[in-house]
């Protein structure tokens, strides 16, 4: 995949994907990166992911807490806040419409 275009797409959706993953349960940075990769978004570097998490924390869409790891130092866990739930629900609907439109246009191209 063209790396520039992928980066552009990610810039638009990364925060929403993180919110979506957190809706399934609390998680920490590295775990989120692995989940994103498993979901097909490709490898997400820490340098990209953590600033996004910080922004989400700043805008109150996620809350954080520290938890002792098993036998290791504490990890920073993220939890979706009520505001985050609301934003996720709204944007998910908007995305479905948007992506649907894009898909329809491109489907014509691939069909030909």
């Amino acid at each position: 995949m063209d790396q520039d275009r992928r980066a552009q797409w990610l810039r638009g959706v990364l925060d929403l994907c993180v919110l979506g993953l957190l809706a399934r349960g609390d998680s920490y940075g590295y775990q989120l990166a692995q989940s994103l990769q498993a979901a097909g978004l490709g490898a997400i570097q820490g340098g990209t992911l953590y600033p996004v998490l910080l922004r989400l924390q700043r805008s109150g869409l996620v809350t954080v807490y520290w938890q002792e790891g098993g036998g290791g130092p504490a990890r920073k866990y993220y939890r979706l806040s009520p505001a985050g739930h609301t934003v996720l629900a709204e944007t998910a609907v908007q995305w479905a419409a948007f992506a649907g439109g894009v898909g329809a246009i491109l489907q014509e191209r691939t069909a030909r």
Binding site: Y28, G29, Y30, A33, Q45, G46, G47, Y50, P51, V52, L54, R55, R58, G69, G72, P73, A74, R75, K76
Partner: protein, 273 residues
């Protein structure tokens, strides 16, 4: 790069970018955990420490400027007029700066920023107007102002003696101020220093002896990005200590954090905002 080294550098860069110590600690701890879990190389996972710190600082939105009551007037320039031959460079410029304030003097090339600063310092004559200074002045020119054949510590002793500071104390103060700009003065004569380092010397000399008013004429010539940030840290620190700082600059991105802006390019008659 080994993770410990990268993390230490990250800690430094976060401080430079104005990220508060608590948050910086969390960011470093989280990055350390990520590196441990993933086993990746820090440069690959996060990039250069400075770049990652900049991204964090951006996300966080910078340190919050606390509302501060302005102190007594330290510098008052009223209706400064300066002509070169028949060409007016400054036509009635005024500026008032109080203790604990930072003023930025901006304008296009040739709009008279340096001239105005020199007039405020008393290094150039004015054809009209007056300047009142409450306290002592420290001045840092864009270039020059150092003795080629003297070492940095000899400069500290010389300027310090003028301010009435004993030599040992002047040397300590100079070394301390230099460290804030990420510089450890060595035994070289100042003519052997690079341009940027010489400017660091210039800046340290201007602030030596804790003058009440600091007049800085784009003193960051030759500074790398990190030192440039350090410089502004020092400016905020001087402000917090209650000094009046005037900086001639044309780089706008720091302007939203200064207290007073004097724009000399708007018209030949500028007034402080």
């Amino acid at each position: 790069m080994r993770p410990e080294i990268w993390l230490a550098a990250l800690s430094d860069e976060l401080r430079r970018h104005g990220v508060g110590p608590d948050l910086a600690g969390h960011v470093v701890a989280e990055a350390a955990a990520h590196l441990r879990d993933s086993g990746e190389q820090p440069l690959r996972a996060f990039g250069a420490p400075a770049a990652y710190a900049a991204a964090v600082a951006d996300s966080v939105g910078g340190p919050v400027a606390a509302a501060r009551p302005a102190g007594p007037v330290r510098l008052r320039a009223v209706d400064i007029v300066k002509r070169y031959g028949r060409r007016p460079v400054l036509a009635g410029v005024s500026l008032t700066v109080r203790a604990g304030q930072v003023a930025a003097v901006v304008g296009a090339n040739g709009s008279g920023k340096s001239t105005f600063l020199r007039i405020c310092a008393g290094l150039a004559g004015a054809d009209g107007g007056r300047v009142e200074v409450h306290g002592t002045i420290g001045y840092c020119p864009q270039a020059g102002g150092t003795a080629d054949f003297l070492r940095a510590d000899e400069h500290f002793a010389l300027i310090g003696a003028g301010r009435g500071i004993r030599r040992g104390e002047a040397l300590r103060a100079g070394a301390h101020a230099a460290a804030a700009l990420d510089w450890r003065p060595g035994p070289q004569q100042s003519r052997h220093l690079s341009g940027g380092t010489r400017q660091k010397l210039n800046l340290v000399l201007a602030a030596l002896g804790d003058p009440d008013v600091l007049l800085l004429d784009e003193p960051y010539q030759g500074f790398d990005r990190g030192t440039y940030l350090d410089f502004w840290h020092e400016v905020w620190r001087w402000r917090d200590e209650g000094r009046a700082v005037v900086v001639v600059t044309h780089l706008l991105n720091q302007l939203d954090r200064v207290d007073v802006v004097l724009d000399l390019s708007a018209s030949t008659a500028g007034a402080a905002a």
